[in-house]
Symmetry: D2
Subunit: 360 residues, 4 copies
């Protein structure tokens, strides 16, 4: 079991969906960094459940309390621990149905791994609720990165089969546009397609079903030279964190899988010297990373988010205690599409990963 | 800089392409494990350069020497170090051209990261040659896993735009077929398409260009319950290692990116109780992993390998010393397509990752 | 800054003396372990301040709250976080005097390390108060070890210049005696000398001065074969943790420094085969450890605890802001001798270290 | 089993006494550091066996080969691996006697830990020979520290019952004297007592017995502010490494165990402002460390080295295979006193530990 990650910025995460609280300890922050609590609250609200019709009805304010490492408005340099209390829990439901395995969830694998001793209520430690402390830590790291001019932003590239009509300019991305996207609760480049995506989610919700999607993220103004190969390449570091987010099933950098259909002469990003004497590339198929190290071009990656496994439609499953077949209709309160709430989580782990690599 | 990976099985990798040797220390192996050196040699030959027309002409036998941790045919339980000497190096070429940045390579990023002090000959520490010790370590781990009945195999799913016509059965994969693939130097399910892929590589080679491709890997007979979320999920662990392999730009598990176009009711893998009282799923869209933990179904993932950046075609670049434009034609000896040689490397890191998670 | 320790049992500690709380996250506990909360409370009371005349008057109940990883009376296998709120803080005093460096404390070194941003109130993160979460974690680990028959106990070997008259039998230590000592708040073998030590502390207290001492600890029933050399020997693991305890300035195993005055023929512990076919040694000069690995004999070590630096006697110091000389008389509430309260902390880190090595 | 240590400067050690080689990989060195190979050779000669009458007759030149991470006389920033071949091995002896447990050695504990699969020849991985790569790594780190003005030196404080008559001035240690000591193969402050120690060793050798001793080490010119509490204090870091050295059984910082007999008013190091506006202490009882962090005063510690367990005198032991009693007379070639050869090892791990803490 490892709730600990990192070498320079170290995270220690804890909590269960229906326990007293979820939380995180961040170790390795430099002392004297001013923290903008309003900024962090803003990011947490982007993730918090219960505030839009695309999310679960479980409403959590996700107010955090900083327990340590923070003094007179600044980091102390000692471990900073923050907790987020769980309030709106309806645990009774889970007590009754804990033996009926929900397809697509960690009910079965969690029971096997923990010999049945794990807290099964609301997914326990596997709950998406654990991403609240991740967003806290990420917002804090992001706050630090922004002071250095580094901007992280994302768009929802697709929801189900609906793809955004516009594309990012991955060679010279517009900073202001990226900043705007990073505040948006449903960031899509093309407005019409944004509406189509939303309509699609509501329709699917009404059918008792769910949708997934793809999130594309860009990081601007990273200096060249970040990343620690052999093993701690930028790709290794970010993918490690991205795949920790429940529901992420694929990660690709730059042109990713599509790069395999290009020839070397098409895929290679050729160099030129810019007017301000910086080495740049004409294209950015490698997504700003060569040899596992940033090359100064925008960092670009995509993450695949699977459709929420909790659906109202009847599903075939088994009762793990008596081995009997069951037809399960999940009632409770669930997200018809987790993608919009995944965006701030993806951005959060990106900030954590980047700061960890930069401050080494 | 991190050449160290792992918590239970720990790797420490070292070496440069044109230095004295490359090597690896494996820490955490249990004592008394019989090692089949012939088996390891077989895996290393799958990766070794110079033996097929699809690979570089640099010919290295990749003979390894075990320096420690191995006594009377068995592991001692103390760190096992193996080195592979570099023999067929032509370093002169690199001395002359070290300031001209090869597009798609780590020449530029390596120079920035190491302030120009890195060994640039043949890519130095960034060379694909570093995968030789990885294959050694992986073959050793795989040897151990096979004793436990665990089988790892792959197929080349595509080379460039040519896709294998057949598909893996990811619900009940044939063990023997997978074993056969795992010995093959160019494993494709459909023979005709295998030939088409090979022809395509040779044609591209003759044009002074290169190709990439996708490798699909399956691991059979893994017990349910492996993986250490929150941070060390199976996906996080394997993607971390896979993205350490030079040229890998995308990783997806199960249906991966395609899962985002499915609805929850299609994507969820429904449960049933098998006749031998095992909990199984009808489909395997999640690729054998739920909540970051194995569920006992075949583990399935795909890795995108970009086209080899070393090509003979002229490319625009700059000389980093005098900032002048250059047109570069890479001569030397290079792989027109690295995908076949990437297969044993992908399987190697898979074995390492799995053993690290299992022996925890 | 590292508040994280361990590889199998991982600790993440946080908090400051006058902040909201101190706490600890314990990662890597196996699932399904029954935890005896009363037992933990008992150990925490041995350390808690304000209950004897030998300790500071700051009275803290040290009630802990478990936030995660604990469900239906048992560990879940996911990270277990516990916090202990700070109640009886008198912070005003520290605000006024924060620039006057207290000799023997971390005031100066903390200010340098954290550029003046650390929480200076009550020693902040350097406070002995951080040992409360350590005792929590240690009591939990000890609870687990006791189920396996492993007993940890200590005696105060000396306070100042007063040495206990009796000695431990380090070859065949009495289990029951050790168990009794492990509940005692002032464990000394000889009753008369125990009283002398106490009198000495009270006398020194009345003089506005403080005392240190030596704690000797024994662990019984450890199997042979525990310890992970080369670097993670039993001595390395335990000394690392012991020197994390504020005030510990020396650690020795077995005969320790006195072993340097013995000849090899005297120091070597000769072997014999016991009646129950166990390999034992006639003597135990090596303190139950050979080559960094337990040999099945009682594990024995001693830790030197320096006199409490907070004293009422006037001391020469400087004001770090204006660089002026100062004569400092520390008023506040302080322990005239920290040794009795250090005993449960030493035992706690011993339990943590041993469990971490055993569960590998 | 952990042959890996460190977080910024990471070591990975491997090898056995009678295997092909011993070696070490050092990860995390900054690129472009000029390495003085002669300096390293000099340190390795201080440790190498067979060159004085106080050491074993096994003569090893301890010539090292750097395999990676070193290019054109400087570090590359990638992992630096060095190996030292084993030459003068007489393994036959060990084959015959491998079941007879040598008292004071790791024969028994090694067999238990590795289920009998460890390489028992010459102590295998537990051999003092593993300190050769440690001295290599340490000399390299020390070379780097010296460029920053940091000086490490030691004296043998005692051999057996003979104590050096002079003492270090721990408040203002003479730099030149310390530098001289650091080249000496038998560094003692008082010349007469140095001779007495040597005579004592030769006499004990003639009796077929062995001696131990205490080494006192000082580090000069360390800036204040180094050390990473809570867990990675200077004391924790150094003691962890020191106790990895075979034969070390005690470690104390500053006044160490003797500090327990002082009152707070005597033990506290009072502050004053020096003429060059540095905060200094009148005394240095804390050995340059407060709260686990350096305070700018000389760093002082002592390590207890037990007498070599290999002695010619008859000892009682057992044959682990047939459980029979044996009387063992160790023939072979052994050090009558390991203390002089331990000095460069102690200094080496000190340099490693300090550089690891400084470069964080």
């Amino acid at each position: 079991m490892s709730g600990i990650w990192g070498n320079k910025i170290k995270l220690s995460i804890f909590g269960e969906s229906h326990g007293k609280s979820v939380g995180i300890t961040i170790d390795g922050l430099k002392p004297g960094i001013k923290i903008d609590l309003e900024y962090i609250r803003g990011q947490m609200k982007r993730r918090a459940p219960g505030f839009t019709e695309f999310s679960t009805a479980r409403r959590e304010e996700d107010n955090f309390q900083i327990l340590s490492g923070y003094f007179k408005g600044k980091t102390t340099g000692t471990p900073l621990c923050a907790i987020i209390l769980n309030n709106d829990t309806h645990s009774e439901h889970y007590e009754k149905t804990s033996d009926i395995l929900r397809p697509g969830h960690a009910d079965f694998t969690g029971k096997v791994k923990y010999n049945g001793f794990n807290d099964y209520r609301g997914g326990g430690h596997f709950s998406g609720r654990l991403t609240a402390p991740l967003v806290f830590a990420g917002a804090l790291c992001r706050n630090i990165l922004e002071e250095r001019g580094i901007i992280i932003g994302s768009r929802i590239e697709s929801i189900g089969t609906i793809k955004d009509k516009k594309s990012f300019d991955v060679v010279s991305t517009d900073e202001n546009m990226l900043r705007e996207l990073s505040k948006d609760k449903f960031p899509v480049l093309d407005e019409d397609y944004c509406k189509k995506m939303k309509d699609s989610i509501l329709k699917t919700k009404s059918e008792g079903d769910s949708l997934g999607g793809i999130v594309e993220t860009i990081v601007l103004n990273l200096p060249a030279g970040i990343g620690d190969p052999f093993f701690d390449s930028v790709e290794s570091t970010l993918s490690h964190l991205l795949f920790s987010i429940p529901a992420v099933k694929g990660v690709e950098f730059g042109m990713g899988f599509n790069m395999t259909t290009m020839k070397g002469s098409e895929a290679n990003d050729e160099y030129y010297m810019s007017e301000d004497h910086k080495i740049k590339t004409y294209t950015n198929n490698n997504g700003g990373i060569l040899g596992g190290i940033t090359d100064g071009m925008p960092l670009v990656f995509r993450a695949a988010v699977k459709p929420t496994p909790s659906i109202a439609k009847p599903q075939r499953t088994v009762n793990i205690r008596n081995e009997k077949k069951e037809i399960l209709k999940i009632e409770g309160r669930h997200d018809p599409c987790i993608v919009p709430r995944a965006v701030p989580v993806i951005e959060a782990v990106t900030a954590i990963g980047i700061l960890n690599l930069m401050d080494e």
